[in-house]
């Protein structure tokens, strides 16, 4: 467990760096978390993060990777609609790294 200062607010993260309280999320926080990994969030990163957040609001879980790929294909074009591109954006894997920046809980199970 650790806390991170974000816009004057102390925000609690769990051992793996995921938000303890999902309501603490902000764009600034996503930027801070990605900066720790030496990753600059660009437009495509935000597309993914925003989609993850809206999907989570409806289903209380991150979407399966194929749903994400299809969405990216729709918004960013066929050449980007593949898993490889998502791994380029989020080298630690879209399911874990992107979820962490998006303020979603860490997926459990055999994944």
């Amino acid at each position: 467990m650790r806390t991170i200062d974000c816009a004057g607010k102390k925000i609690e993260l769990d051992e793996d760096g995921y938000l303890t309280n999902l309501n603490d999320w902000s764009e600034d926080l996503a930027k801070m978390l990605s900066k720790e990994d030496n990753l600059e969030l660009s437009e495509p990163h935000w597309e993914v993060i925003n989609f993850l957040r809206s999907y989570y609001q409806q289903y209380q879980i991150a979407p399966m990777i194929k749903i994400l790929v299809k969405e990216i294909k729709k918004t960013m074009g066929a050449d980007k609609g593949n898993t490889k591109y998502l791994y380029q954006l989020f080298p630690d894997g879209p399911a874990k790294q992107a979820c962490r920046y998006a303020g979603l809980p860490k997926p459990t199970g055999c994944v």
Binding site: Y59, K66, C110
Partner: protein
């Protein structure tokens, strides 16, 4: 007045003990470098305490701990008493555990058989040494000489906080894969010792997070991912739409909760979430479609896996398994088929009947669950599937036997079916199949390095080191025969190896499921006419 003070003092002492333990077991990220692949598996030099720093994270969520019936505030004050009571219960309830305490002659046959020992060189990862952690307590507290003369006389261990830390550390560096048991001349099943040890640790309040969080989710939401009903439906409908679009067929389906279907199909929830797992789901759907077997998945029994197996607590395992049989009865199916999941197969095939049987509501021809490989193999043998092997011509395939399937009872009612049937399916859909070296497959298969509750990110150090034997064997097959795809029938193996392959410098795309290959090769109706 004095008594009150003593009680307060006792409480302080207990709190301090708990704080010390929490501090000792605090999770810290340890980065390890994978070894260079040479194709050889060598016995390492001894490296004492090499892995003492690798601790599985503790579960602290009170709601989950309370639901599971474990202490919710960490180490309990009277832990020694509860520890021994639980150990006594384990020794009486599981007579095998008692037997395994007594019969080991320390011959050392198991020493170099454990992937964690081979990968780390830590002597406490030798199966005999790990089991000895429990045997020492057994000799001290459960044998007459130990009770009379104390630990030094019997080379035993007194219960100390240090012992708790060692137990917690090393019983969460055993993946209960049972490879050592294959080589034990007495047939000692070290996995059972680990399961009992974990349950004893649970009873005093040292509960591992990854494994128990999943048991909680499987019991409350019905699956390991904690997916709610609407999310399951959304995921499966997506797969159905995608299949229909890809194949230009509007009659291929992924049915959900359909009463009266012939088959209830259960599979790990990872199959409708993660990659490469999901590819096999496409394969299953194509098999059922082509064979004309009506099938359904269930939102109630939305998980094939059963993490209850990983600790000696049958109540947890039973609760998780129950959903499958409730769904089978409610949906009025004739048989149950399980997807690609290692421990699912062991629980579903070996234990279901004694937990919730007899299943007299099923078709008497299918008295027990079938494995998807069994079903597909039967269809292939009967020529019921039209296959175009050239769809897989880019692959030279090998197979990693998942530990829980390889060392479960059997498959398809035939001896060694759990080895032969999956291989027959691969050969049925691929031109080129090559086995890895004999000592690393079939009943002697190596664990992927992350089984039985060790797949969390907290265990990355043991995952990387424990994967070494499998990675070396794969590398060998790659060098010798040009192998470029490993086919799996377990969701844990898929998650672990698709992470380990890149870590060891091999492409992630070389990992996948058997039904991923099946799915590619099946020629479906509409395509024929194209």
């Amino acid at each position: 007045m004095t008594e009150e003070k003593t009680a307060a003092e006792q409480c302080d002492e207990a709190c301090e003990a708990n704080e010390r333990i929490q501090e000792e077991l605090k999770f810290s990220k340890i980065k390890v470098k994978p070894v260079k692949l040479t194709g050889e598996i060598n016995i390492p030099d001894l490296n004492p305490n090499a892995m003492l720093g690798v601790k599985a994270q503790l579960l602290t969520a009170k709601e989950m701990l309370e639901h599971l019936g474990y202490p919710a505030d960490g180490l309990i004050p009277n832990w020694k008493e509860v520890f021994l009571r639980k150990m006594d219960e384990m020794l009486k309830k599981y007579r095998s555990v008692k037997l395994f305490m007594d019969i080991c002659v320390k011959c050392g046959a198991c020493v170099d058989k454990c992937h964690y020992y081979l990968g780390t060189g830590d002597p406490l990862n030798m199966p005999v040494a790990r089991a000895e952690l429990m045997r020492k307590v057994y000799r001290r507290y459960f044998t007459l000489p130990g009770k009379l003369f104390g630990s030094r006389f019997v080379n035993g261990s007194d219960l100390t906080e240090e012992l708790l830390v060692t137990w917690y550390t090393y019983f969460y560096q055993c993946s209960e894969c049972r490879r050592c048991s294959v080589f034990c001349p007495y047939g000692i099943d070290t996995a059972e010792i680990t399961m009992a040890a974990r349950e004893i640790l649970n009873s005093v309040g040292l509960v591992q997070k990854y494994l128990h969080e999943i048991i909680f989710k499987a019991q409350t939401a019905g699956n390991n991912l904690g997916m709610q009903q609407n999310a399951i439906i959304n995921a499966l409908e997506f797969v159905q739409d995608d299949l229909q679009e890809q194949l230009e067929m509007d009659n291929i389906r992924v049915p959900i909760d359909e009463e009266g279907a012939e088959v209830l199909f259960v599979t790990p929830s990872a199959d409708f979430f993660a990659s490469p797992h999901i590819e096999s789901l496409y394969g299953y759907a194509k098999v059922f479609h082509q064979a004309g077997i009506s099938w359904t998945m269930s939102t109630h029994a939305s998980e094939g896996g059963n993490f209850g197996l990983f600790i000696h607590n049958y109540e947890h395992m039973k609760k998780i398994n129950k959903r499958i049989w409730e769904a089978a009865r409610d949906l009025k199916v004739k048989r149950v088929v399980g997807g690609e999941c290692g421990h699912m197969w062991r629980v579903l095939c070996n234990y279901s009947n004694t937990m919730w049987g007899p299943f007299d509501y099923l078709d008497p021809k299918y008295k027990r669950p079938q494995h998807i490989c069994e079903l597909t193999n039967d269809l292939l043998n009967r020529g019921a599937l039209k296959i175009d092997k050239s769809a897989n011509e880019e692959f030279i395939v090998t197979m990693h036997d998942s530990c829980q399937v390889a060392r479960a009872m059997e498959m398809g009612g035939m001896p060694n079916g759990q080895f032969e049937i999956p291989r027959a399916v691969i050969r049925g859909v691929c031109e080129k199949f090559v086995d890895m070296p004999e000592a690393t497959i079939r009943e002697r298969t190596f664990c992927c390095g992350a089984g039985q509750g060790l797949l969390g990110d907290d265990m990355m150090a043991t995952r990387v080191k424990g994967a070494m034997p499998r990675m070396q064997a794969y590398h060998y097959a790659k060098q010798e025969s040009g192998v470029n795809f490993v086919a799996l029938i377990c969701a844990i193996c898929k998650a672990q190896l698709s992470k380990m392959f890149p870590a060891y410098g091999i492409a992630m795309e070389e990992v996948g499921g058997i039904h991923q290959l099946v799915g590619r090769a099946i020629v479906l109706g509409a395509k024929e006419s194209v």
